[in-house]
């Protein structure tokens, strides 16, 4: 941890987690979620964005018993309790997959790719999964 962050009151930086992979086929989605939960302890300004196949991470009714892996999707609903409330989903990604916010298990803000690009440019740190 930098001296800067150790100062009284701390320095709040803007962290963005970019999720681009479908869940379960690779470990990216779960790893991202674990890092987000750890980072939540540091009281930073956190945004989660879901683009490309990352939008599938938020699908309702995921039932993983049949493939014997952990179903971590309910955790997205718990993020609010960690004061992580900025969840953004890219409209173009939903459209390409025939999905709407009705398919998703948490409330999100839908934004265009151009709006998301602006949001990315405002961050101090961008972590990609």
């Amino acid at each position: 941890m930098s001296d800067e962050m150790m100062d009284e009151g701390g320095v709040v930086k803007k962290f963005m987690y970019v999720n681009r992979k479908a869940p379960h086929g690779t470990i990216y989605a779960l790893e991202s979620l674990e890092v987000v939960l750890i980072a939540a302890a540091f009281d930073q300004d956190v945004s989660l964005v879901f683009v490309d196949d990352g939008v599938y991470q938020l699908m309702k009714e995921q039932k993983t018993d049949g493939i014997e892996v952990k179903n971590f999707s309910p955790t997205y609903r718990a993020l609010e309790m960690y004061d992580i409330e900025k969840l953004y989903v890219e409209k173009e990604s939903l459209d390409a997959r025939g999905l709407t916010t009705d398919d998703l298990l948490v409330p999100v803000e839908v934004m265009s790719a151009a709006e998301m690009a602006d949001l990315m440019a405002q961050q101090d740190v961008v972590l990609s999964f």
Partner: protein
């Protein structure tokens, strides 16, 4: 011949390449993130539909269920379980895995 595809068509071109190489009467089984290729109303639905007349297209049901997309599977795609996967391999060998 049985072809398996385990990558999302949005992520890699495995499904496209597989369908281009599948011959009449072949079977294509979508597994893992490959089941995204079995879904209706996506940018890849037309590509899959175009092959359904000549190639049998199947998807592994537990992988659809895990991703919460069972209800979005394209009509005409045959859903199989792990036992069905084994049967397909036994009946249609050799198996080509498109990674």
């Amino acid at each position: 011949m049985l072809h398996t595809v385990n990558k999302s068509p949005f992520e890699r071109n495995a499904l496209k390449s597989c369908l281009e190489h599948a011959r009449d009467g072949d079977v294509v089984l979508l597994i893992e993130d490959g089941v995204i290729g079995a879904l209706d109303n996506t940018e890849f639905t037309a590509m899959v539909k175009a092959k359904m007349g000549t190639v049998k297209i199947c998807a592994l049901a537990p992988d659809l269920e895990a991703r919460g997309v069972s209800s979005k599977a394209l009509a005409g795609i045959e859903l199989v379980d792990f036992g069905g996967f084994v049967d397909l391999a036994a009946e249609n060998g050799p198996v080509q895995a498109w990674l």
